[in-house]
């Protein structure tokens, strides 16, 4: 069930343009999001977690990832999107987060993994300012692939220590 990033890279890598950044995309509702593929450690199926008391709702809990305790964040809840029942294609993407003090390993729960795309830096568009309607702080940019819009996330910002402690102030 789990596929490592290197395997993913070697499967798909040959078809890709080496200049462009590669992004792993996943689905939340009807939207498609992307994260830098080099940060993806592993993709695994949703499995039960151990909840941590007194933490924000979107921190689902911690799992044992080969002996390491890894916190899991529900991205839908993080973006205050309507919750859905976890199903067979619900996956956890394990990411490396670079924090100022140290690197962390965290997992995000998403509806499904979609694809891997090349996005040349010049094709990345800045996200328009939505003011208070949508918080675009966590959006690194927007990319268009096959006439679809992909929201590229700034996961360091999204999942760094200070942000995951904040319990409010999110509108999506």
């Amino acid at each position: 069930m789990s596929t490592t990033a290197t395997e993913l890279n070697s499967i798909i890598g040959s078809e890709l343009d080496s200049d462009a950044d590669q992004f792993l995309t996943f689905i939340l509702g009807t939207e498609e999001y992307g994260v830098d593929i080099l940060r993806v450690q592993e993709i695994k199926g949703w499995d039960s977690v151990t909840p941590i008391p007194n933490t924000p709702e979107y921190i689902k809990g911690v799992i044992n990832l080969r002996g390491t305790i890894v916190p899991i964040v529900d991205l839908r809840q993080r973006f205050s999107m309507p919750e859905v029942e976890y199903g067979p294609i619900t996956v956890v993407i394990v990411l490396k987060i670079e924090c100022p003090d140290r690197d962390r390993i965290m997992g995000i729960v998403v509806d499904a993994v979609s694809d891997v795309y090349d996005v040349p830096p010049e094709e990345m568009k800045e996200a328009p300012d939505f003011g208070s309607v949508v918080d675009t702080e966590f959006v690194r940019g927007l990319a268009t692939v096959d006439e679809k819009m992909i929201i590229i996330l700034d996961i360091d910002h999204l999942l760094s220590g200070n942000e995951i402690q904040a319990t409010d102030g999110l509108s999506a």
């Binding site: 039960s48 977690v49 151990t50 909840p51 941590i52 008391p53 007194n54 933490t55 809990g61 911690v62 799992i63 044992n64 080969r66 002996g67 390491t68 305790i69 890894v70 916190p71 962390r104 390993i105 965290m106 220590g161 995951i164 402690q165």
Partner: protein, 703 residues
């Protein structure tokens, strides 16, 4: 370059420890050559390394100390207590300098210069006085005539980037040179490997040259070549010597070995005295070992933890297949057998891996001799140090943290415990006091005993002091143990005079605090006039914890076994409320607050009543409390993992662990939970009124 620095510092600090150790063990009257050699080698490597990395201050300083050692090694200089003390001082200076280079900061230039002066003074003095009557110093007398050098690089020397031609050129700069190449070992052209060296050289160097200038040329290759440097004038007299001396005379055999073909330092191939003692050397701190980063070890520990879980899973599956009879029984048996073997092997691997982190306590004990040496000098006391059980192993992390408390206890024993020689004689004891360090394993713990045969604790004085400080009531009677225990109380020092050694009233409480923070305990027993024993008990490792698994809601938590006093079933008769806000439980003669784990952790509690529930009575930070849980599960050892590695600290939790089925369980921080309970209080509305109605009565009165 940076990564080499790290290794250099580690090795140098280790080298200094070895020097210190050997210096302290030196018996001034009867010096063991190998000890001096060991000390010299350490100094030499530090000098070489610091020169390479451009730490010139250390290199220069060490050079002076090394010269002194060199003379001792060659037998030119007598080893005196004075010189040993000076060398110990030099070790301190070198350690300070290394620390400055490593961590930054300012060097104490004056101190360095003063010790260096002392060293130079000692060097200057004694060489002059001894050189007149010592034949071995012929070397220096002969230096004006020149030297005969035999230089034969080992086959592989060229591969380390050293060039003989460059060395010969360097020699040529020193004086008039005559070089004869010896090509007898040159193989046929077909066998010639251009990367190997087959040549040897006989070099005659004439002129007023100091030997050290020559050895400096060969400094980098001394381990990779055969090298003999002989004073020219001596060659003839030496041959004469050899003829006249009888072969059976051991003493005279070693003498010309140092005098005539002055063999290079650290040169195993030609030095005769160094060889037989190599075996002895290994016992004095140079055990065969490799240097491995602790992170690599921890990674292995993690992986083995995973292996254990996988093994447990396979074992379970194996057990299930067993009951299914449709399978081939022969293959089944084989599978079951294999699984059993896997389990055994896995357990052994786990034990071995945990042992990697374990180090002998001698790492802590080795700091003590120096301390005793210095302090007994300062305090004018005579102390004999005995260490037992140095091979007893404990976890590296525990070891690192126990060092300072140990040092403090040793200081304390020397300052307050052991009396001055006069006092000792007056009380009918021997002049020399004894300080004994003993370590041994007991259960899953390591016990360290630190005992002295000094004056013991003056109970009356401690009690009086405690009374004046108001720690103990005027008429309160205390047992002897309780009085002894008072010395761990902050702000209670009975030293008559404050010294810079110990006794400012801070310390013993800090010692106890540090030991407690490691999950250990310390107690003191004292017999007035006869001595004091401090007994420290510590867990063998901080990586593993004995835990009681409990169920709260659907989740499993781990309560550290050390914090648990007892587990009881709540009887509503013993439940009381205060202001309708908190529950108190009457446990024999005391009242303890009742903490509902569900509430503190914001979980649903289906059972509102406390009656007949299970309560774990715990103690954290000296405070007792009862924690309500849903079920008590097994007791087991768990491997502690930090939540902070990938997440952050969470109130009320000290970490997490992985259970046998691979799921994560959180470890409770009892002291933290009690703090949280104080902040948030009991659930609102209050727990259902106990049948006897005490709760509401008290609430009414309070209102």
């Amino acid at each position: 370059m940076e990564q080499f620095h790290q290794t250099f510092f580690e090795e140098s600090f280790e080298g200094l420890d070895i020097m210190e150790n050997e210096l302290l063990n030196l018996d001034v009257g009867n010096v063991d050559n190998e000890s001096i050699n060991t000390i010299f080698r350490s100094a030499h490597s530090i000098k070489g390394g610091s020169g390479t990395f451009g730490f010139t201050a250390i290199a220069e300083f060490t050079h002076v100390a090394e010269t002194l050692l060199d003379e001792m090694r060659d037998g030119i200089r007598q080893v005196t207590q004075e010189s040993v003390d000076l060398l110990l001082k030099s070790v301190d200076i070198m350690r300070d300098m290394l620390t400055v280079y490593k961590d930054g900061g300012d060097m104490d230039v004056e101190k360095i210069a003063s010790v260096q002066n002392e060293l130079e003074k000692m060097l200057g003095n004694e060489t002059e006085t001894t050189s007149t009557d010592n034949t071995i110093t012929d070397d220096s007398a002969a230096q004006s005539d020149g030297w005969k050098i035999f230089f034969k690089p080992h086959t592989e020397m060229l591969r380390t980037g050293n060039d003989p031609v460059r060395m010969i050129k360097a020699l040529a700069e020193l004086g008039e040179i005559e070089v004869v190449a010896n090509i007898t070992h040159l193989p046929g052209f077909a066998d010639l490997n251009p990367e190997d060296s087959f040549l040897a050289w006989d070099i005659t160097l004439k002129g007023d040259i100091e030997k050290k200038d020559i050895t400096e040329v060969f400094e980098w290759v001394e381990d990779e070549c055969d090298l003999e440097i002989t004073p020219l004038a001596n060659t003839a007299s030496n041959e004469l010597n050899a003829q006249t001396k009888t072969v059976s005379d051991e003493q005279s055999k070693t003498a010309p070995a140092t005098a005539a073909p002055v063999t290079q330092k650290k040169q195993p191939a030609t030095t005769t005295p160094a060889k037989p003692s190599t075996t002895k050397k290994s016992s004095s701190g140079e055990a065969a070992s490799i240097r491995v980063g602790i992170d690599k070890v921890d990674e292995i520990i993690n992986l083995v933890g995973e292996l254990v879980i996988t093994q447990a899973m396979l074992g379970q599956v194996g057990g299930e297949i067993n009951s299914d009879e449709t399978h081939n029984t022969f293959q089944m048996e084989k599978l079951i057998e294999g699984l059993a073997q896997l389990e055994r092997n896995t357990r052994e691997i786990q034990e071995s891996v945990m042992r990697i982190r374990m180090l002998p306590i001698s790492f802590v004990f080795s700091r003590v001799p120096r301390l005793v040496h210095d302090l007994s000098g300062k305090l004018n006391k005579k102390v004999n140090l005995v260490t037992l059980g140095e091979g007893t192993e404990l976890d590296k992390t525990v070891m690192e943290k126990i060092g300072d408390p140990m040092v403090h206890l040793v200081r304390n024993a020397l300052d307050h415990g052991i009396e001055t020689p006069e006092q000792r004689l007056a009380s009918g004891k021997g002049e020399t006091g004894t300080l004994t360090l003993n370590a041994f394993h007991k259960g899953g713990n390591i016990v360290i005993e630190l005992s002295d045969d000094g004056a013991g604790i003056n109970k009356e004085r401690v009690l009086n002091k405690a009374r004046t400080n108001g720690l103990v009531g005027e008429n309160e009677m205390l047992t002897d143990d309780a009085i002894n225990d008072l010395i761990f109380h902050p702000g209670l020092s009975t030293a008559e005079s404050l010294s810079d050694v110990s006794g400012r009233g801070v310390g013993m409480d800090v010692v106890r605090k540090n030991i407690k923070s490691l999950g250990g305990s310390v107690r003191v027993d004292s017999d007035e006039g006869k001595g004091t024993v401090f007994t420290i008990q510590l867990p063998l490792t901080l990586a593993i914890l004995d835990g009681q698994l409990v169920k709260v809601g659907d989740e499993t938590f781990v309560v550290p076994l050390v914090s648990i006093i007892e587990s009881i079933q709540v009887k509503s008769d013993n439940l009381n409320g205060i202001a309708g806000k908190a529950d108190l439980y009457q446990l024999r003669d005391e009242y303890i607050p009742v903490i509902r784990a569900h509430h503190v952790f914001g979980m649903e509690d289906n059972n509102a009543s406390l009656n007949d529930r299970l309560m774990v009575v715990v103690e954290g930070d000296g405070k007792k409390a009862g924690i309500i849980v849903d079920d008590l599960l097994a007791q087991q050892q768990v491997v502690i993992k930090s939540l902070e590695t990938n997440y952050q600290r969470v109130d009320g939790l000290s970490g997490a662990t992985i259970l046998g089925d691979g799921t994560v369980a959180l470890i409770l921080d009892i002291a933290g939970m009690i703090e949280m309970y104080k902040k948030i209080g009991a659930p609102e509305p209050t727990a259902p009124v106990p049948p006897n109605g005490k709760d509401s009565n008290i609430a009414d009165e309070a209102a």
